[in-house]
């Protein structure tokens, strides 16, 4: 505790770096995954290609990726861009599946209704498909958020600044307190991010919590949330 208080400035700085390294790839991953997932949804052939390819991406060991990327990107090994690109790849691997599940969770009847009312495809995608897929999409985002935050620490082995450096430094100096602070800080960061995502979801999907009319109705999204959590089990 004393050590933490004395070094809180450093820990906070590392936490900030950690957050940026985890968050930027998540956002980039989302931006890349949404069109890929929509493409996969529309074309049955592309669907299997995209789903298989994204699963394969996730099997690349992260350390190997951190080391190979500089030679591919022409960056220096310490460049944070390597980490961001690597984590974006993992985020895409997870989010393409999640986004596809999310789009599949939108009832076909609703797309038909929207089309029959005179929606053109792009507007329908933005105003109907996207908002209705949010509950399942957020389940995927929460998995990626946790996965990214844990993966960022691996980058500390290369010397890219983040909370993982508390592990490497603590191990080198045989100083357990620093390692424990690192673990706790990463845990807190992951919990905070998860809380922010939950809050954001609540804000963006008010209709899912509207009191139901009498009569049985199981929200369709429940099935897919359970499904999306399965992906959390696997990982590099």
């Amino acid at each position: 505790m004393e050590w933490f208080l004395a070094n809180s400035g450093m820990v906070l700085e590392r936490a900030g770096q950690h957050l940026v390294l985890a968050l930027v790839p998540m956002v980039l991953g989302l931006v890349i995954s949404i069109p890929l997932a929509q493409l996969a949804r529309i074309h049955p052939v592309l669907r299997s290609v995209i789903v298989t390819a994204s699963s394969l991406l996730y099997t690349i060991p992260s350390l190997a990726l951190f080391i190979i990327l500089p030679s591919i990107l022409g960056t220096r090994i310490l460049d944070p861009i390597n980490v961001i690109v690597a984590l974006t790849i993992y985020a895409v691997a997870l989010l393409v599946r999640a986004a596809l599940d999310a789009f599949d969770s939108v009832e076909e009847d609703l797309r038909q209704a929207a089309t029959a009312m005179g929606y053109k495809p792009w507007l329908r995608f933005v105003q109907i498909d996207l908002p209705l897929s949010l509950p399942v999409m957020f389940a995927g985002l929460r998995v990626v958020s946790v996965s990214n935050i844990s993966l960022v620490s691996v980058a500390a082995l290369l010397g890219v600044g983040n909370l993982g450096m508390l592990f490497t430094d603590g191990l080198q100096r045989n100083f357990v307190t620093e390692v424990v602070v690192g673990i706790v800080a990463i845990l807190v960061l992951a919990l905070l991010m998860d809380a922010v995502l939950v809050l954001l979801e609540r804000l963006l999907t008010p209709w899912t919590r509207a009191a139901k009319a009498p009569g049985p109705s199981v929200p369709l999204s429940a099935r897919y949330v359970a499904d999306a959590n399965v992906h959390a089990g696997a990982g590099p």
């Binding site: 038909q112 209709w207 009569g215």
Partner: protein
């Protein structure tokens, strides 16, 4: 007017879903497409707003080939109601109704104002406007679906089995509501159902489709029940068609007789029920029927049958007489006060007379 000219829809490797359909749909009336599943009725409906494109043939609306109009524009000029209400769960009831006006560029405030008016038109309280669709009952959702279809005031309404997922009581209500609306609106309505009863209740004209996408008969509901064009239509219309056809004949010739009544006060009858020698109708102090008292007993009130209103069809008259424990159908006025009773043998005599008039006309 909507016109199908030799329209065929064939999916790859299958037999035609719709086969050489030629028909014209009258402006300002309700035309019902009815038939068993797989008969192409929904496909035919969906070709009108280009949700399905025909393999060959032409569909015109007011003389204009629908394929010459951009699909989205065409669809906005036709209201669409489907079986599952198809309401957007993430939008309030008002915003759902306002959808098409918003697509047409109407301002949000104006579209919502119009949507609030429409809630009233379809018989919903304006307080429901702020709710989400999941907070409404199935019947209310279908009403919102109809309001949404009407929002841009399109001349044409396409309704794809809109009432088949709600319970029979609500369906009956919604059907009557649609007929009431249609009196004011006079839209060109194309309505798809697999229920011949619904078809004959709603349709100014009914198109019976046979499996394989062929039009088996296209006529008034009265004629379809009275004179099915072939065995398929006869069997589809069903065994009760003779009875249902009575729904199109007036009962004006059925006499209403006086009926002995007992007035009930706080559960007690005036007079002595045990002394009664004939069935007596028990009424409240406002002459509204409560049930029947059986002759020679002082047992409890026996529930009455269906009520008959002068001007009802022969179908209702016969049902009223047959469903009454006393064999007498209770006739009531608009306020529900007893007018008298009608008798089953006399209703049958009127039915027979009506049949002879029809026969003589042939």
């Amino acid at each position: 007017m909507i016109e199908f000219q030799s329209v065929t829809k064939q999916y790859q490797g299958g037999s035609p879903a719709v086969d050489q359909l030629t028909m014209s749909i009258d402006k300002g009336s309700i035309t019902v497409f009815v038939g068993p599943s797989g008969c192409g009725k929904t496909t035919s409906l969906r070709m009108i707003n280009r949700m399905v494109e025909p393999t060959s043939g032409v569909i015109t609306v007011d003389g204009r080939d629908v394929t010459t109009v951009a699909a989205a524009e065409l669809r906005r000029s036709m209201g669409y109601v489907m079986q599952s209400s198809g309401l957007m769960p993430h939008r309030s009831v008002l915003d759902n109704i306002a959808t098409v006006p918003r697509l047409n560029g109407v301002s949000k405030a104006e579209a919502r104002k119009r949507a609030t008016e429409l809630l009233d038109v379809v018989g919903l309280a304006s307080s429901l406007g702020k709710r989400y669709p999941s907070q409404l009952s199935g019947g209310q959702q279908q009403r919102v679906g109809v309001a949404r279809a009407l929002a841009a005031d399109p001349p044409i309404l396409l309704m794809d089995e809109p009432f088949s997922a709600v319970d029979p009581v609500v369906r009956d209500e919604l059907q009557q509501e649609l007929l009431r609306l249609q009196q004011d609106l006079a839209k060109t309505i194309v309505f798809v159902t697999h229920d011949i009863d619904e078809a004959t209740i709603l349709g100014d004209k009914v198109a019976v489709f046979a499996v394989g996408g062929k039009l088996a008969q296209y006529s008034t509901p009265e004629e379809i029940l009275r004179a099915p064009a072939n065995d398929f239509v006869a069997s589809f219309v069903g065994r009760d068609r003779g009875f249902r056809h009575l729904g199109f004949t007036t009962s004006d010739a059925v006499a209403v007789h006086p009926v002995p009544t007992l007035v009930s006060r706080a559960g007690q009858f005036d007079g002595d029920p045990a002394a009664v020698t004939d069935w007596q109708l028990v009424v409240d102090k406002d002459m509204r029927p409560l049930g029947w008292a059986r002759p020679g007993t002082d047992a409890d009130l026996i529930p009455g049958g269906s009520l008959f209103h002068p001007g009802d069809s022969l179908r209702r008259a016969l049902d009223s007489a047959l469903s009454s424990p006393s064999g007498q159908g209770v006739a009531v006025d608009g306020e529900g006060r007893v007018l008298g009773a009608i008798r089953a043998p006399e209703v049958l005599a009127v039915i027979e007379a009506a049949r002879q008039v029809r026969q003589a006309a042939l």
